[in-house]
Every structure is written in C-alpha cells, then in structure tokens.
C-alpha cells in the first residue's frame, strides 16, 4: 500500500472517531475511548510521516473517484506534506494524550468529542490534498470542525462571538484561496496541482495569486491584520483544542501558503518576497506587543501565536526573495529556519496551552490577575510550563532560539540580494524580529511570574491541585522535545533537507556528521551554533558553582518573613499583577498604537472604598479596519432595509423603473 493510502486510512480513522463518539453518546467511557483512539491513529500517522521524511521516500499519489466530477480527488504525500503531517500528528497525539485526563473536566463532552476526530482528519486531509477542490474542501472542513469546537462552551456569549468571527474570517480566507486557485487553474486548464505547477503563468497572474494566497492562508495562520479571530477563538475552545488551534492549525495555514506559493505558483518576482517579509515583521512585532498587554492567560498565548507566525513568515518571505534571485542555499536556509520554527512553535505552544488548561482546570481561572503561587501547588506543571516559556522566549539552549537564530542568519544574508528595496527592508524587518524576541521574553516572564510565582491572588489559586497523570505526561513529553530539539538541532535540520530541496532546489549541508553536533547553516566562518555545548556548559558551570559554594562556603538556610525593603505587607494585592507588570511596556509602545486608555479611581485619604484601575487596550486592526467595516455593513444594511417596508405601489415603481432601464439598454444596444 502506498504511503498516501495509509495516510488516507488514518484520516478515515479520525473521521470514524467522530462516529464513535456519537454512537457512545454521553457515556463516561466515551472520553478515554475517543481520545485513546485518536492517540493511536495520530501515532500511526506520525510514524508514517517520519518514515516518509527520514526514509527519503519518493512522493506517492493517488486519485479517489470522488470530488470534482471528471477530476477525482487527488492526494499526494511528498516530503513537505510529510513534514507538516509530522507537526500535525505530533500535536494531535500530545493533545489526545492530554485530553484523556483533561477531558474529564468537560461538562458537555458531546459538544467536543464528535468533532475532535474530524478536526484532526480535516487538518491531515489538507496536507494530502493535491487538487484545488479537495484542498479547499478539506481546508474549509477543517475550519468548520474547529468552529464547532470553538463554540462548544456556548453558554458564554464571548465564545459565540469568537466563533462567528472565526468562521467568517476563515471563509474569507477560503474565498481568497479559491480565487487564487481559480486563476492558477485557468492557466493550467485543470484543478490538479500537478497541472497548475507545470503551467506557465504571466507575471500579473502569479503576483495576484501569490497575494491572494498570502491573504487566504495568512488569515488562517493569523497574519496581521487578519489575526483578529485568533485571540478570540483560540481561548474559547477547551484547552487541548486551543493547543491544536494555536499550535497546529495555524501551521496548516502556513502549509497552505507554502504549497500554493512555493510549489504551485512556482516562479515569482522578488517583490513577492518583500511583501511577505514585511507582513511577517509587522505581525511578529504587533503580535507580541499585544501579547504583553493581555491579562487572560490563553489570550496572551494566542497573541503570542500571532508573533510566532510572523517569525515564520519572515523566513518564508526571505526564502521567496532568495529563490527568486536564484540563491538556492540562502533560500534553503530561510525556508529551513521557517519550517524549524513551525515545528518548534507547534511543540511549545501546545505545551503552554496544555499548561494553561491545567491551570484552568485546577483553579477555574484564566485571568492572570487572580492567579499566582501555583509553583507550590502544581510543581510539575510549573516546571514544564517554565520550559515552554523559555523556549518560546527564544532562550538558549532551548529550541525556540535555534530557529530564531537561523532566521537571523538568513536575514544577515540580505546583502546578497540585488534589489535595493530588499537590502534595506530586510534588516528593518530584522529589527522588528529583534524587538519581537525581546518582548517575547518580557511577555513570558510575566506569564510565568504572575501565574506560577508570587503569592496566590485568589482563593482558587491558593487551593489548586496538581493535574492528572495523562496531562502531565503529555506536557512532559513536549518539554523533552523542546530540550532535545534545542540541543540537537542538527538532526531536525537534516530531516528538513528533503523539503528544502523540493522547494528551493537546494538544501543546507548535512549537519548530523559535524563535530560536536553543532549546526553550521552556511559555513563555519560565517556562523555556527552548538546548543549541546551551551547546554553542557550551562549545566556544568551552574552545578559546579553550586557544589563549590555549598561545599566550601555556607550551605545553611534560614526561613524568615519577607523583607521587602522593610515594608512587608501581608496582603497579596500589594504584589505586581499582570497589568502592572506590563505597564512600562504599555507606556512605551502602547499609547499611540493601541490607544491604551487607563483610568485610576483613587479614593481620597480616609475613604474606605477600594481604588479602581481600569484599562482599555484596542487592537488597531479593529479600530481602523474591522470596526469601520462592520459599521459600514450595518449602516448599509439598515439603509437598504427600508426596501422591506415599501408599499406595493412603490414596489411596482421599482419593477417599472427596472423595465424602463432595460428597455433603454435595448434602445441603445448597437
């Protein structure tokens, strides 16, 4: 059986779990059974993907007699699909494992279980689809299935709104992709990617299709300003689904972009790269700025996803620019960096959402202002969450740093580009990336510091208990992957080389055989990095110092009340909160950009009421784009609505007017 057929069977299996869930109904066994099944299937698909990617197997394709009439449904499993299948199914497996435990907290499992498997199926299907129709069908099916999960907690009005925004934006994206594919199909004469790939398209068609694909796929991935659904929808879903939405589904969006632009459109001008790079840079910077200002933990994570998507798009845009100029190795570096970051983000963002879910199920709170001190109540969760935070903040020696480092290396190759615009724009985007990296540090210091450290800010946080074994295992697994991918990045890069070769006709030099397992993307004289050595040094120097100090100097410790410069206050409200932590950054960056509005209502001395602090942060995308748009639609609808209340005579007048106009057209015609 060809690999692609195995993949399709896995998808059928995922769909089957949906049926299984319906059959089982609301029984208690349903949760472990369904998630257990998805876990097994996801592992199978994961193995398949690994086999294809690492085994260097050639692409396999198949045609099913369904789909568009006369065309059939084409499916193909090549290394690009395999890599993304790996990402998707790794996330899916972790999520399933986590959910075996976490799913027990679900009040209405029938609103989640039947849709979980189909959602996974949809994502996998997108990766395998090899013609326009199957691709978009799976794409939109994936949106639909995830929409049901977003609105699963439907009693909360905000979730409903999130669901609407989500599905509307998703459909917008799908329609953009549809237009892009329509253009390409018109050039190729058929809807299969195979034909579109070989067809030659004019410059303008290629540019339009690329732009449309950027908008379409970008809206799924969360590119600014198409990201608005993401911070609403991702937190609304149950946490294991949030992890999939944020960590995995956005990656499917990126896959869509790569597949259409790199693979199907094929040749393009370097300016396409410029647009993508700039969009990526803006996304990275704005996403993280927004993340810093959030007080809802899951929203913070969702905005951080926006940032990371920006980083990936910077890499992709660079790859486009380099490829358009025939600079294969540089393109391969940029693409590998982007894909590596895709993998990394899927791992640590899933981990962080699992952590947020653990916190949520333990305390019932997502609002960071009401959390704190969980490191004592949930020690294991705290450790893995910390690893996730450090990874996403791009700190060496963990994995997030490696991919960002590679992106920086790709940016530093920009002098090679012949276009002056790119020569200048790319370093500017590099500055944005640097800003994003630094702010991500601040953001996750805040996240971990406020949620897990300090003293509990509510009784719920004070009485939290550690989560179950399944959830912990899933998180631990992901944390290990973060460490491994950070210290042994060469293996990941080598695994990505078939993808890079397929899309940029060039690949990075093999890394696994290099001395000390370091990575050298271009040449050693240019740049190199060795996560393993850094890790080793850090551990050795830290442990050695500690041992020396404890042996040779003092090791005694005494517990005593907090000193706090001599003014210890018992109440936990005296601590810095999430909002106060972000205040300096808000002042510096937010006042103009986000129209931050703060009001403090301070009681006069002697008054007994509490002081109130109110803050409003507005997303510029809502302020300048969606807000006016929605208002315009509503106003137009209201204006047109008068036509519902006309008298019969006026309706007749409308008919009459139309008739006269048409007759005049006839009179004028020729």
């Amino acid at each position: 059986m060809p690999e692609v057929a195995i993949g399709l069977w896995c998808i059928a299996g995922f769909l089957g779990t949906g049926v299984l869930a319906v059959v089982l109904g609301g029984r208690a066994i349903a949760t472990p059974l369904v998630y257990g099944t998805t876990l097994v299937i996801a592992l199978a698909a994961l193995l398949l993907a690994l086999d294809v990617l690492l085994g260097g197997r050639p692409a396999t394709a198949t045609v099913l007699p369904i789909g568009l009439p006369g065309l059939g449904a084409h499916f193909r499993l090549d290394s690009l699909s395999a890599f993304f299948m790996l990402v998707v199914n790794f996330g899916a497996a972790a999520s399933s494992l986590y959910a075996i435990g976490y799913g027990r907290h679900e009040h209405a499992p029938m609103r989640v279980l039947p849709f979980f498997g189909p959602f996974l199926a949809g994502m996998n299907l997108v990766l395998l689809a090899a013609d326009g129709f199957s691709f978009l069908l799976s794409w939109e099916f994936m949106s639909l299935a995830s929409w049901t999960l977003v609105v699963s907690h439907h009693q909360v009005a905000a979730n409903i709104r999130a669901g609407f925004t989500y599905l509307a934006m998703a459909s917008f994206g799908t329609l953009c992709l549809l237009l892009a594919l329509g253009l390409l199909a018109a050039a190729g004469g058929e809807f299969t990617f195979e034909r579109m790939r070989t067809a030659t398209v004019s410059e303008s068609v290629a540019a339009t299709a690329t732009l449309l694909a950027l908008i379409g796929a970008g809206s799924k991935a969360g590119l600014v300003p198409l990201h608005v659904w993401l911070p609403l929808a991702h937190p609304a879903a149950p946490s294991h689904v949030s992890a999939l939405l944020s960590g995995v589904m956005t990656k499917v969006g990126i896959y869509g972009f790569i597949r259409i632009v790199f693979d199907v459109v094929g040749d393009f001008s370097p300016w396409a790269g410029l647009v993508v790079v700039v969009a990526g840079g803006a996304t990275a910077a704005l996403g993280v700025l927004y993340a810093v200002m959030q007080r809802d933990l899951k929203r913070l994570l969702a905005y951080s996803t926006v940032e990371n998507i920006g980083i990936v798009f910077i890499g992709l845009g660079l790859a486009l620019a380099f490829r358009a100029n025939g600079q294969g190795p540089a393109a391969a570096l940029a693409l590998t960096a982007a894909l590596f970051h895709v993998f990394n983000h899927s791992v640590f963002k899933s981990l962080l959402f699992f952590g947020a879910g653990a916190v949520l199920s333990a305390t019932g709170e997502r609002d960071m202002e009401k959390l704190g001190g969980l490191v004592h109540r949930m020690p294991q969760t705290a450790v893995v969450f910390l690893i996730g935070c450090m990874s996403i903040a791009a700190l060496p020696p963990l994995n997030g740093f490696v991919s960002e480092w590679m992106t920086f290396q790709a940016i530093l190759l920009s002098p090679q580009l012949p276009q002056w615009g790119l020569k200048f724009a790319v370093p500017a985007v590099g500055a944005m990336l640097a800003l994003a990296a630094a702010l991500a540090g601040a953001c996750f210091v805040k996240a971990f510091g406020v949620v897990f450290l300090s003293r509990p800010r509510s009784s719920a946080a004070a009485t939290a208990v550690e989560v179950d074994g399944f959830s912990l295992t899933a998180m631990l697994l992901l944390a290990w992957v973060c460490v491994l991918a950070g210290t042994l990045p060469g293996f990941v890069i080598d695994a990505l080389s078939p993808v890079a070769r397929e899309l940029t006709w060039s690949a990075l030099p093999a890394q696994a055989g290099l001395p000390w397992l370091s990575i050298v993307p271009i040449a050693e004289s240019r740049s190199s990095y060795n996560g393993l050595v850094i890790f080793f040094f850090l551990v050795v120097s830290g442990v050695m110092t500690a041992v020396v100090v404890h042996r040779l100097a003092s090791r005694s410790t005494r517990t005593s009340p907090i000193w706090d410069c001599g003014y210890p206050l018992d109440s936990p409200v005296t601590q810095y909160t999430s909002s106060s932590f972000a205040m300096p950054i808000r002042r510096v960056f937010g006042t103009v950009l986000f129209a931050v509005h703060e009001t403090v209502d301070m009681p006069r001395p002697g008054e007994m009421r509490a002081a109130r602090f109110r803050m409003r942060v507005r997303d510029p995308a809502w302020r300048f784009l969606y807000g006016p748009l929605v208002r315009w639609i509503m106003r137009s609808a209201q204006r047109l609505n008068r036509l519902q209340f006309l008298t019969i005579r006026r309706y007749l007048a409308l008919v009459f007017a139309a008739l006269i106009v048409l007759m005049l057209v006839v009179a004028i015609w020729r």
């Binding site: 609505n641 519902q644 209340f645 006309l646 008298t647 019969i648 005579r649 006026r650 007749l652 007048a653 008919v655 009459f656 008739l659 006269i660 007759m663 005049l664 006839v666 009179a667």
Partner: protein, 223 residues
C-alpha cells in the same frame, strides 16, 4: 391587404393608446372608470377588426369578452365599489398631472423608438399595432404607480392588460389568445373581488383592515 384596412386597424390601435393617455389625465374616479370602459370598447372594435382582417373568427370571442367584461361588467362593479366603500372621488396623484403626461409621452416615444427600426420584413400592421400596444402596457404600469387610489390602480392594471390583448390580437395567428383573454378576465375579476373583500378603500398600499397598517412585511416597531 389594402391600405384602407390597414388604416382602420391603425386607427383603432391609436384610439386605444389615446384613451390610455386620457386615463393618465383624469383626476376623478368616475371619469377614470368611464374612460376605461371606452378604451375597452375601442379595444373590442380593434380586436373585431383584426378578426375580420386575419380571417380568424375565434378572435371575435375575445372582442366579445373585452366588450362585455371590461366594457360593461367591470366598470359597473367598480362604480359600485366606489359608491359602497365611500371612496374619495378625487384621484390621489403621486406625481403632478403635467409631469405624468410628460412621462407618458416619453414612454410612447420610447415604444416607437424601440419598435420602429425593426427590419422591414416584419408585418407592418403588426409592427404599428405593436408599438401602440407597448405604449399602452407601459402607460398602464405608469398609471398604477402614479396613483394611490386602489380603484385607479385596478384600472391601470386592466389598461395594461388591454395593451396585452391589443398586442396578442395584432400578432397574426397567435394561438391561445382567446384562452388567455379569458384567463385575464378571471384574474381581473379576482383583483376586483379582492379590492371589495379586503376593503382596499383608498390605496393599494394598505389593505385597510384597520390594523394592517402596522404590518408591512416585518413589524415596523421592531425595526
């Protein structure tokens, strides 16, 4: 076909058109009904003439129906309605009379403009008749939309239908004409019946069963 025959056919058709314009001009309901009755009579003459010209005796039935139903029965019924329902005798115009007439003339011009340049192969009788019929149809519609009064609107619709019959009978050998004219008469009867039953006293706009003003599609108060 001799020119005289042609001229007579032309005369009748033009008569129907002139009466249509006169309908636009009237501002008393009884006058409107009377002019309409006259138009129906002229129409039946025209149809009868066509029946002779075309040698199609079945058209006489159409002429007869037009005469009886629209020339006599319906005008009588409408007069009754006006009396019974105590409708205002004045016609409520939406647009002023002069303007309506101008629009009517423009419509006549448009109809002739559209039909004139037709290739000469077309039967000239049919062509001329047809331009008039088109104008009558359009004037009928114009009457419907420029008058608020229900009865006037019914008359407008019937005048439109007169145009249809004029066109149908003008088309040589058209099948189904008689059946259609019967069908239209039934339709008009329904409308008249509706006006009577639902007591649409003043305006087509409102089915005046006291409360109906509030509903027009969706309830306005929830707007």
């Amino acid at each position: 076909m001799s020119p005289l025959w042609f001229d007579i056919a032309h005369l009748f058709a033009a008569g129907v058109l002139v009466l249509s314009l006169m309908l636009l001009y009237q501002d008393r309901i009884t006058a409107v009904i009377n002019v309409f009755a006259l138009q129906a009579v002229v129409l039946s003459l025209s149809v009868g003439w066509q029946s002779i010209v075309q040698g199609a005796p079945h058209l006489l039935a159409t002429a007869f129906i037009a005469l009886i139903a629209k020339g006599i029965i319906i005008p009588t019924a409408l007069h009754r309605i006006v009396r019974k329902l105590d409708v205002h005798r004045e016609v409520e115009r939406v647009v002023s009379g002069g303007l309506t007439m101008l629009a009517g003339l423009a419509l006549v011009a448009l109809s002739i403009l559209l039909v004139q340049p037709v290739v000469e192969t077309a039967d000239p009788v049919a062509r001329e008749d047809f331009a008039f019929a088109l104008a009558v149809v359009l004037l009928g519609l114009l009457l419907m939309i420029t008058r608020r009064n229900a009865v006037t609107q019914v008359v407008g619709f019937m005048s439109l239908e007169n145009g249809l019959i004029l066109a149908a009978t003008g088309a040589r050998g058209m099948p189904l004409v008689v059946e259609v004219s019967v069908a239209f008469s039934v339709l008009i009867a329904f409308i008249v019946f509706g006006v009577f039953v639902f007591r649409i006293r003043e305006r087509f706009d409102t089915v005046d069963v006291n409360v109906l003003e509030r509903f027009r599609g969706e309830r306005r108060e929830h707007l």
